[in-house]
Subunit: 270 residues, 2 copies
């Protein structure tokens, strides 16, 4: 089963385009976990997963939040991934890339060692650096196209022969999609660009859309512009608003409610 | 002591602009290490370090080659770093970046947890994502400007209002160098671009220059175009040609000779 099929299946089963970002952060997590639990981060993740697994299509793990714990972080990453039901898409968000033989090692780490279904990849180094990721034909590589942060404009909006760079990147992604396993990262904070990118990419390329919630992206526009013509292949990520919704022993219930609520809000616009 | 001072000191002491890349790779390493040693990778790195520490200014550890071993790789990374003499510059080459709060975690991992002197950073996401790295004022962030791989042209050579993107990146690096801790990565495989970039950056910004050796970059041009007007602040990396120079029990001697030879070749052009 290739990535798009897996995504479509879980989207249909859970009626959801919602991706929950497991961006663990001690300062934002319920305090009681650190008083009473051996492995508070794993306890947090497993409770969040158990509470939200029926209303999401994907979980996204941002590598930076795990790497900062060194060896223990790697262990936590592995154990969290093990706890995610097999039918749900796992996105490892490391925004990696490097020249060819090195990119191959990154791809191997993320897909083979950590069993990601999808990864995020930085395009600045060009095609030969993206290719080792694309060789994993049943996986998906979400290539950064239009990121959600304010300084995204610094380079991504530069105009190249009348075309902004991010659109050149989108055109390349379409060109690179020979195995049907390219995706694109596009921030919900830039809805007009999202609309243009979906138009360039067509109906078969999934979009990973961060930036709703705290960053200020509009859910309605993320859905309207980000989905394909069948209302699918958009993975709308929310991290902090969901995983840090509650602060006490019942925090997972709050996460569950927040996830269900956002899933439903997304669906009203599909 | 800030990064440029540390680099200048070791450059002077070892009379060297040479950086050795510790890109471990089982298939290229001496076979006997895997028959006879408990931790062949650490044994390899420590022997290479011992054999080359008097002729280098820096060691560069490419994160991908360590991450692929999971927890063990992190341990190996830490132990290798511990073995590098304090006066030698440690460059952790992960080409990381992400939006602000995430970039901060990457910076923390590389500078605080792993004690890097310098890191490599991908600029595609723009200034607010580079800033968390720059907040480490005594460290150096080598920002990808012109990478050494063939597909570097895909985006880096796109022309923006008559200026190629990589030159726009160079201009931004100069602008971002408020704390004097920016560097730039420029591949030796593109000598003309290297010349232009050094001109844009001036004399105070160090260049990390990969691509001599196997990738085909010319050492003479790397030195001529990459150094500042005093013949300094260029860090010329070689990985495979040095660390895989020998294949038997005396492999480290071969590495030592290869490093000394390249150090001396570099110096003939300074």
């Amino acid at each position: 089963m290739n990535f798009n099929e897996k995504l479509m299946r879980i989207t249909e089963k859970n009626n959801s385009l919602l991706c929950v970002g497991l961006d663990i952060d001690k300062e934002k997590m319920p305090k009681f976990l650190f008083d009473s639990r051996d492995n508070p981060f794993l306890e947090f993740n497993t409770q969040i997963i158990d509470a939200t697994k029926n209303v999401v299509c994907a979980y996204k793990l941002n590598m930076a939040f795990y790497e900062v714990f060194g060896k223990k972080g790697f262990d936590l990453l592995e154990k969290t991934i093990e706890h995610i039901p097999k039918e749900i898409v796992i996105i490892l968000d490391g925004k990696r890339n490097d020249i060819g033989n090195t990119a191959q090692k990154y791809a191997q780490t993320l897909f083979d060692v950590l069993h990601a279904d999808a990864v995020t990849v930085n395009p600045y180094l060009g095609k030969d650096t993206v290719q080792p990721f694309l060789e994993y034909k049943d996986k998906c590589s979400f290539i950064l196209c239009r990121t959600s942060n304010p300084s995204a404009v610094d380079f991504q909006n530069l105009t190249v022969s009348k075309t902004p760079l991010y659109q050149m990147v989108a055109q390349k992604i379409k060109e690179w999609n020979i195995y049907g396993n390219c995706g694109a990262v596009v921030g919900a904070t830039y809805p007009e660009e999202l609309k243009i990118i979906r138009k360039i990419l067509g109906d078969d390329i999934p979009l990973l859309i961060p930036g709703v919630g705290k960053q200020g992206g509009c859910v309605e526009k993320a859905v309207e512009y980000g989905t394909n013509s069948a209302g699918n292949l958009a993975v709308i990520n929310s991290s902090r608003d969901i995983i840090f919704a509650g602060n006490n022993e019942d925090f997972a219930e709050y996460s569950s409610k927040a996830a269900e609520s956002l899933r439903n809000e997304i669906n009203t616009y599909r």
